[in-house]
């Protein structure tokens, strides 16, 4: 009788899994069936069985409906259920396996618990029940069965570990390589194969494995794009890597996932997957140097940027100009990015002005507010005109 609810639970998930996963599901189902059939003790309780079975089915259905509603009804731009690449898919498949097994265990244990407390509730204060001390056979059985289930679960686990660790193509064979360096609180990105240097947003071609080499400049960060792959930490002094592949074009959200200090919550990034042509065009564009701004406001902005008043060139780089600072994100093509300040606000002129006006308000604890002379107590605040000029200049850095 556990077969029916088991089937009910399994059916929503049977959809899009690969053959290794489905065969282990079949084996699991068979084992469960064997266990149920072999469990002749249940026959002793035939009279109460109907009640137990009803309880079991009700609980199973309740659990399935709760899960289905939650999985399907709501979503998120960083959902690990809405996967778009093989690594995240593999990880989700494994999760689904253990979810099914977990739900089965949950239903069995909780149903048993509810059953016993109803069936064996005290009816008479003087009753002393039989003082059973144990049952060796039962105890051995219920030790071996979970062990077997876990051994089976270990197989896709180990294969998943190796799958995520080993990119299917090496850099020489066609994989794209990105060197990612974590900083407090932004991501620096380099493409050694193309010479591209940028920050907080990477572009990748669809259907191509991408290897991300992970480093850090200061404390431990983590690189996480939930829809594409599980995270791996960026540890100073260590060389880590992960790989992923985007099966669909689109913009994917990433977030730092290892607590790294005051602005950890505001350290995010974007991965843009596009066709190979668009990707190649993007890399070429990123290599180009920006033109001298024509429009007077932007021109003013450039002088502020490069001069002592703004002082921006001390920390930021704009290739083709005197700004060669390496402390903060590269701004050569900042206007081509979809977000600002490490993925936390949309890249619009309005947001850019807000950021320049008062970065501390948008990203408390950020190092620009802490260190740039223009934001310190002893300096005159930037005027609205200066802010507009700077924003206009940065807006030309497409």
């Amino acid at each position: 009788m556990t077969i029916i609810p088991t089937y009910v639970i399994l059916s929503p998930v049977v959809g899009d899994i690969n053959s290794l996963e489905s065969s282990s599901k079949v084996i699991t189902k068979k084992l469960i069936t064997l266990w149920v059939l072999g469990h002749r003790r249940l026959n002793k309780f035939k009279a109460n069985f109907k009640f137990a079975r009803t309880l079991f089915v009700v609980l199973s259905l309740l659990v399935v409906s709760v899960f289905s509603a939650s999985c399907v009804g709501f979503g998120s731009s960083q959902s690990t259920f809405e996967v778009s690449g093989p690594v995240a898919q593999n990880q989700l498949n494994l999760f689904n396996i253990i979810l099914v097994l977990g739900v089965i265990v949950f239903v069995i244990v909780e149903a048993a618990l509810i059953y016993v407390i109803i069936k064996f509730r005290r009816k008479n204060d003087d009753d002393i029940p039989e003082q059973t001390h144990g049952n060796r056979t039962l105890e051995i059985t219920w030790t071996i069965i979970p062990a077997l289930i876990l051994i089976i679960a270990a197989i896709p686990t180990v294969s998943g570990v190796f799958f995520a660790a080993n990119p299917p193509l090496s850099a020489d064979e066609g994989a794209i390589v990105v060197e990612a360096t974590g900083h407090q609180w932004w991501f620096e990105f380099d493409y050694p194969q193309y010479g591209v240097h940028t920050a907080n947003e990477i572009h990748i071609p669809v259907d191509t494995p991408v290897i991300i080499n992970l480093r850090s400049d200061d404390v431990i960060h983590s690189f996480w794009v939930p829809k594409l792959a599980g995270k791996v930490d960026m540890i100073p002094g260590n060389k880590n890597h992960l790989w992923f592949q985007a099966d669909e074009a689109g913009e994917y959200l990433g977030q730092c996932a290892e607590f790294c200090g005051v602005a950890h919550a505001n350290m995010r990034f974007r991965v843009v997957a596009e066709s190979m042509e668009d990707f190649t065009a993007w890399t070429e564009h990123q290599l180009s140097e920006p033109q001298e701004p024509i429009e007077p406001l932007a021109s003013q902005g450039k002088s502020l940027f490069m001069g002592a008043r703004g002082g921006c060139m001390a920390c930021h780089q704009v290739r083709g100009t005197n700004a060669m600072g390496k402390i903060g994100p590269d701004l050569t093509h900042v206007a081509s990015r979809t977000t600002l300040a490490a993925g936390i606000t949309k890249n619009t002129q309005g947001n850019l002005k807000s950021w320049i006006r008062n970065p501390e308000k948008i990203k408390p604890g950020n190092l620009m507010s802490a260190n740039a002379p223009i934001y310190q107590e002893n300096s005159d605040e930037l005027t609205e005109a200066e802010i507009s000029a700077l924003a206009a200049y940065l807006g030309t850095l497409k």
Binding site: F74, G75, S76, S77, Q78, T80, F81, Q91, L94, F95, I98, G102, V105, V109, I117, F120, R121, R122, P129, E130, Q131, T132, H133, N135, L138, E139, W142, P146, A153, A154, T157, G160, V161, F163, A164, A165, D218, V219, I220, S222, W224, P226, A229, G230, K231, V232, D233, I235, P236, H241, Q255, C256, A257, E258, F259, G261, V262, H264, I344, G365
Partner: protein
């Protein structure tokens, strides 16, 4: 001659506050631990409520990110080291000597010292709020974020020093309980006739002794880096910050078993009592506890699946972690089998014990999900982990501790609590708990990282966060009911009988509360659950002589009790000054060290008041 140096006489029959300050009685020390730890638990709860208030809505700025980071660091550190561990110690203290038929622990002054040192550690940690410099790097404090460069103020130093001081307290207590359990059991109580709670406590104490040195080393290394410029964790000098993680988690994983095994012991006592059946498979439950403790040393890197240790390491630790689910599951099944065929009564302790099974099972299942490393790659550092840890630590340890408080309340207070309020507490807490923590599984799978002070509207996490906040406030409300119940009934409740639950172990054979000397005559034990055996099964068994303490019985026995002492609290005070001094002022530290050394010397040589028969029977 040495004792002449110290003119301070040893206290004789102190009363009032002095009787608490100089007590070495395990029952009083247990109460001190319990009340102190519960107050600290409430402080950790306030920290949690502030966290939940900040996260209730997206884009909120109720607290700054710096304060938020301090809040979650202090919440975690408080709950683990200042709430759950000392609440466990409260039970070890009060219950173990009674359950093994002893008059006190092996080293009563050391026992008092453990409590006062715990208090010293708690003061050092909590004072960080008052000093506006609370630690802010999370309860596991990863390097290099805790290095002097990334974290120059004293918050981390207060965290380090408080944990060192708490470590001293824990180690002293662990040694004490190991010796007590090994040596002071009543005649006839072999190890396999010991109550299961005593077994779990023994295993926990052994884990403490083996695990704390590891974190002690890690903390010393971090201190040397921060204070003296050493390079254990400094990357620029060639160190690997992952070293901290290995050291921390080799301690940290056994630590979580230290947190849960006593809770499992409490539940294993309560379920048989309220189903009037023995614990099913007692040897298997003991063995499972020992296996869990042993295997707990082999799983630590499951906290590091995303650190880049490599696929072989990740695979090995995934397998060992899945393996540890087996003995854990065995225990759950043994508990259910204990209930099967029993006569179950739903008094408040039983409700919490049943709630423990239900909630801990959920936490265990999410634990197995984390064990599978590839799926953990998505779950690590998200709210899915937060959900797991709270199901096992709150739904597990705290539920069990609540069960234990209600269960032993008649024994330690001599009064009965109000049963309706107890049940109300249970239901509101259970419902609130699930409303708070179940949605976190979804928030995590939908990509919400942990330890973020803010999230934006439109991420899809709003509903889960709002539910979590509502549930948290429900739990807080339930604790108000609990506090009211306990406080009013401790003062004015109905007197409790010796054995209100018709229970199975020796503490129920003596009065509620027990006399200072516990047993008039040390009982001779014939079986497991000897008290039950005496009452119900062995009708030839002669009634135990005046166990409750009738007046005539007292006069005939030479009961030597350990005597109160000032030196444990003074030594603890010295350690506290040493701790603060190490951070702020080396002269204060020197003073603390001097006080500590004097206290150790005085303690070692203090006189034992010459026992006279008339003065001893009280």
């Amino acid at each position: 001659m040495a004792s002449m140096v110290f003119a301070i006489p040893r206290p004789v029959h102190p009363t009032g506050i002095w009787s608490w300050i100089t007590t070495i009685d395990h029952k009083r020390i247990g109460i001190l631990y319990g009340v102190t730890a519960f107050i600290l638990f409430l402080s950790g709860g306030v920290e949690a409520l502030l966290i939940r208030a900040q996260l209730a809505l997206p884009d909120q700025n109720l607290v700054t990110p710096e304060v938020y980071n301090q809040l979650f660091t202090m919440h975690g550190t408080t709950m683990i080291f200042l709430a759950i561990m000392p609440l466990g110690a409260a039970f070890f203290n009060f219950v173990i000597p009674l359950q093994i038929g002893a008059r006190d622990v092996a080293f009563p002054r050391l026992n008092a010292f453990s409590y006062w040192t715990f208090l010293a550690g708690a003061i050092i940690l909590k004072s960080s709020w008052l000093l506006a410099d609370a630690p802010n790097a999370g309860w596991f404090a990863y390097s290099p974020l805790t290095g002097i460069q990334a974290n120059p103020t004293h918050g981390i130093d207060l965290w380090v020093v408080s944990l060192q001081v708490l470590g001293v307290a824990s180690l002293a207590a662990a040694f004490n309980f190991i010796v007590t359990i090994v040596n002071l059991r009543a005649p006839g109580m072999s190890l396999m006739r010991m109550p299961i709670f005593v077994w779990m406590s023994l295993i926990t104490a052994i884990l403490l002794v083996l695990a704390f040195p590891v974190i002690t080393v890690a903390l010393f290394e971090l201190s040397l880096d921060r204070v003296f410029g050493f390079n254990f964790f400094v990357v620029a000098a060639g160190a690997n910050p992952v070293l901290w993680q290995h050291l921390f988690w080799v301690f940290g994983h056994p630590e979580v078993y230290i947190l849960i095994l006593p809770a499992m012991g409490i539940v294993s006592e309560i379920l048989p009592t309220f189903s009037k059946k023995p614990l099913f498979g007692y040897p298997a439950v003991v063995l499972a506890g020992a296996i869990i403790a042993f295997m707990g040393w082999m799983v630590w890197s499951h906290h590091m699946f995303t650190v880049g240790l490599g696929p072989i390491a990740n695979s090995v630790f995934a397998i060992t972690t899945m393996a540890i689910a087996v003995p854990t599951g065995v225990k759950v099944l043994n508990w259910i089998a204990t209930l099967w065929g029993g006569s179950i009564s739903f008094r408040t302790p039983m409700l919490f014990a049943l709630g423990f099974i239900a909630m801990f099972t959920i936490g265990g299942i999410s634990g197995v999900m984390h064990a599978m490393a590839p799926s953990d790659a998505q779950q690590q550092d998200t709210y899915f982990i937060v959900a797991h840890i709270h199901y096992v630590l709150f739904g597990g340890a705290i539920f069990a501790i609540m069960a234990g408080i209600y269960y032993w309340f008649p024994k330690f207070s001599g009064k009965m609590y109000n049963e309706s309020l107890g049940k109300l507490h249970f239901w509101i807490m259970t419902i609130g708990f699930n409303i708070s923590f179940f949605p976190m599984h979804f928030a995590g799978m939908y990509g919400m990282p942990r330890r973020i002070y803010i999230y934006n509207e439109g991420m899809g996490w709003e509903i889960y966060n709002m539910l979590s906040t509502v549930g948290a406030f429900m739990m807080a409300f339930s604790f108000l009911i609990f506090i009211y119940n306990i406080v009013t009934n401790w003062r004015n409740g109905e007197d409790a009988p010796d054995d209100p639950w018709d229970a199975r172990t020796l503490e129920w054979s003596i009065s509620s509360p027990p006399p200072e000397y516990n047993f008039v005559n040390i009982p001779v034990v014939k079986t497991l659950d000897d008290w039950w055996n005496t009452k119900h099964e062995d009708s030839d068994h002669l009634p135990m002589p005046a166990a409750g303490g009738s007046e005539d019985a007292e006069e005939h026995h030479d009961i030597h009790l350990p005597q109160p002492s000032y030196w444990p609290i003074i030594l603890s005070f010295g350690l506290m000054l040493l701790g603060f001094g190490f951070i702020y002022n080396f002269y204060v530290g020197g003073l603390g060290a001097a006080i500590a050394m004097i206290a150790v010397y005085a303690w070692s040589f203090e006189p034992v008041n010459d026992p006279e028969p008339e003065n001893n029977n009280h």
